[in-house]
Assembly symmetry: C2
Homo-oligomer: 180 residues x 2
DNA sequence: GGCATCATGTAAAAAGTTACATGATTTA
DNA sequence: TAAATCATGTAACTTTTTACATGATGCC
């Protein structure tokens, strides 16, 4: 379901686009909340067309297929946003590592936690770059000017949160082991 | 891979257990970082045994199979914790909704954001209850006393972060639409 | 002509979800 | 003895990942 919804949203904001375009845009925007490669996107677009959520316009150069959202598609997207309460469940390798880290010796645990902090820092840099790129283009007062913006903000806050948590956890491990 | 690792960790801390026990413990502890039902756990335990990571002890009452971690299993877990840097990618329906929410009218967006805050609040309550239950049993100075504790702390912080973000986003939507 | 990139797909495998199925034991 | 819960599994389906496959167009 979620992949459909992400595609409907992207297509709504971008206007009629090809699968290739959507795959590119996916990478550069939705990717920090949902991931999908072209091998998942192409078949899904076909299914969505079969289900009446999308329509294929004229085939462009090089056999490009230009998809656009039908009224049924618009309704589907609206319904999901308004009626569907999203599951709060997370599935995160980082969280799993943080769960298991007490199985290691204190010095090893500290190494692992430091690595997590470093990778959070790198992730933060990416998100902030994304935000800078967004701010350079989008007009926040425009029709869909805030599309993606709240999610980016959330991502940045969460990532900063991971960094703070890592610092505090490192300090805790050191205090407990008397290595401080 | 991650399911294996979660099972290895749980089995290390619990000591020899049956699939049924592990499924129960999964629900009550690892579940907030990784989810799996018994229909995924039973076959995975069988595969892990075939791969030499687990050993089956005597079959207990009612045909219970008691699994324990082999040295190979211990090594596998250690290796994953020490050498594997986890992907930072998130896949979250909540984040996807937050991404798409600007497609709605301001008042609708506010409704959706409020619902997210409410569900974060409920989730926070669950996590805090889990922590209370943990604190009542576990000795934080014991061998694996902090098993799961850092992850719980992270989850609680992240969930509080979502609540703050929701408040700020609601305020932002209202300010932009002049509904404040 | 060769290389990059545009553009679309399929196939196979792994992971995850939901539903079905069955039998043993405890407790009320 | 009926209901709850213990205990294990399989089957069907959906979703995701990784790899394979192919042809067109533009640029050097």
């Amino acid at each position: 379901m979620s992949l459909r919804i992400a595609l409907l949203g992207l297509l709504t904001v971008s206007g009629p686009s090809s699968g290739y375009d959507l795959a590119k845009k996916f990478e550069k925007s939705v990717a920090h909340v949902w991931q999908a490669g072209h091998s998942q996107i192409y078949p899904e677009l076909a299914k969505m067309t079969a289900d009446g959520l999308l329509a294929v316009g004229a085939e462009g150069a090089r056999g490009r297929k230009i998809y656009s959202v039908t009224p049924d598609g618009q309704a589907e997207l609206r319904r999901w946003l308004l009626d569907h309460s999203p599951s709060t469940t997370t599935r995160s390798e980082t969280a799993l590592q943080s769960f298991l880290v007490p199985l290691l010796e204190p010095d090893e645990a500290v190494t692992v936690l430091r690595r997590m902090k470093t990778s959070a820092q790198a992730h933060l840099a990416e998100l902030e770059e994304l935000r800078a790129a967004r701010n350079a283009i989008a007009d926040p007062a425009g029709r869909w000017g805030m599309f993606g913006a709240y999610a980016l903000d959330l991502g940045i806050r969460q990532t900063r949160g991971v960094m703070e948590w890592a610092d505090d956890s490192i300090a805790d491990v050191e205090r407990r082991s008397g290595t401080a």
